[in-house]
Symmetry: C2
Subunit: 273 residues, 2 copies
């Protein structure tokens, strides 16, 4: 299969641009070799990156694809004029038509968020991560009512990664609470959760998939057996239906898809970063 070199050049971390650029590239049946150049915030650094693009061009005899998120026009110009890249400008492509539509110039500021750590949003995000860690896996019931969401489900349905993702990306305080055989015996949700019903969201999974996941670490145990997996899932789903809480199957869903579905269903919108 053909391989093409791709550069991501940003004046910040470039993480979002890189993730977004990779999503674009994945529409093509080519293997891409990516090179990331974050923090390119001076003309000097632009010359250095230009030199690397040119070295790649000389070796491969074909223009590397260059995704840029450079706000400073001088830096972008130096890079463009001194290298053999095929440029896709992720900032100006949208900023220019928006400037026209909004009838105003954009700020063109690099590092608009250089003081991000002092912003209330950032503080809120760190608090959400702290809260979520402390409230992982039913570790504590303290301040449970402060949670924005409480995930429930049997072991290995994806509660922990989803909780951390919601905290990290959406600044939500998330608790997660395991459903265990003792709850099934009582046929009811853990009593501490009952007054918080509106915040609850359940995760479930296909028995076969659960059995595979549990066998990775606990092969040939009762816990990982298909019989027990079927039993736990059936009990948990019946309990969630009875308690009238929303739930979804995580079997074929990424963390991002689970998180987005939860936000949509509970009509929650975390703070944007």
């Amino acid at each position: 299969m053909e391989t093409r070199s791709v550069f991501f050049v940003s004046d910040g971390t470039g993480i979002t641009a890189e993730t977004f650029g990779n999503a674009i590239l994945q529409q093509f049946d080519i293997t891409f070799k990516t090179h990331c150049h974050p923090f390119v915030d001076t003309v000097d650094k632009a010359y250095q990156v230009a030199a690397q693009i040119n070295r790649t061009f000389e070796i491969e005899k074909i223009s590397p694809i260059v995704f840029t998120t450079l706000v400073d026009e001088n830096i972008l110009q130096v890079l463009k004029e001194n290298s053999q890249g095929f440029f896709l400008d992720m900032v100006n492509t949208f900023v220019t038509p928006l400037e026209q539509k909004l009838g105003m110039k954009s700020s063109r500021k690099i590092g608009r968020f250089s003081d991000i750590t002092k912003s209330p949003q950032y503080h809120h995000r760190i608090e959400a991560i702290d809260y979520t860690l402390v409230h992982d896996d039913g570790q504590t019931n303290t301040n449970l009512s402060q949670a924005d969401v409480i995930l429930v489900g049997i072991s290995r349905t994806g509660k922990t990664p989803t909780s951390l993702y919601l905290a990290m990306q959406h600044s939500l305080k998330v608790a997660n609470y395991p459903l265990v055989p003792e709850d099934f015996a009582k046929c009811t949700l853990p009593s501490v959760l009952i007054p918080l019903q509106k915040k609850l969201f359940g995760l479930t999974i296909d028995p076969q998939r659960l059995c595979e996941i549990r066998n990775e670490r606990f092969a040939n145990t009762h816990y990982a057996s298909i019989k027990n997996c079927c039993y736990e899932i059936e009990q948990a789903e019946s309990m969630m239906r009875l308690a009238n809480i929303h739930y979804l199957s995580t079997t074929h869903k990424s963390i991002e898809e689970i998180a987005t579905t939860i936000l949509q269903t509970l009509n929650l919108k975390g703070s944007d970063q």
Copy 2:
């Protein structure tokens, strides 16, 4: 200040597009009111979103800005032809020139990753998150040599959020290890870390900022006092210099900036999702 409505319409979660779109919008001194419409993967849903855009237009008497990441051209067309939005097409804007440059058509597939949970990359990511949680705050030394990075630093320098971010976003196995007064007394890094020197990265912080952070939860304690903060930072930095490990100050840096700097410095490149 002026306010404009913005719609993000995606056939997937739209998370990346939304984050990237917000970064573009932040270049303008306007308050934007954003509406997210994930999972718009049928023509029917496109008509529903078009109706919502039109309702907003009728109320505000000005075209809402619509960022789209719709791969299916029919769905995009229905949305465009039936609504009063000002469209910024985040897929075709880059896919079209890339198709020309690469001399091939893109796959235009929605949900290319519908089976993502079965991919080795996804499995690796979940493993990294599990590893990182278990190895948070020096909880265990088991399998410490399997870590891709080991963060060290005194309490409240940002080790935990940075570790989780590196695991979540870059699928790296990250351990983090607190430096405590007992280590300072011995004037050496915890002995278990010494053979793993190449994986170590230190986090430090300004004393004043540390004092503020610690006082939020432990006001008027020795732990949070400026004198103790100064002492711990001085000891930790001197230990990190002596051990010849890279370190950075997290005082003015976001989690993303810290993570990117670590990747650059240790020349690590996590798996892309």
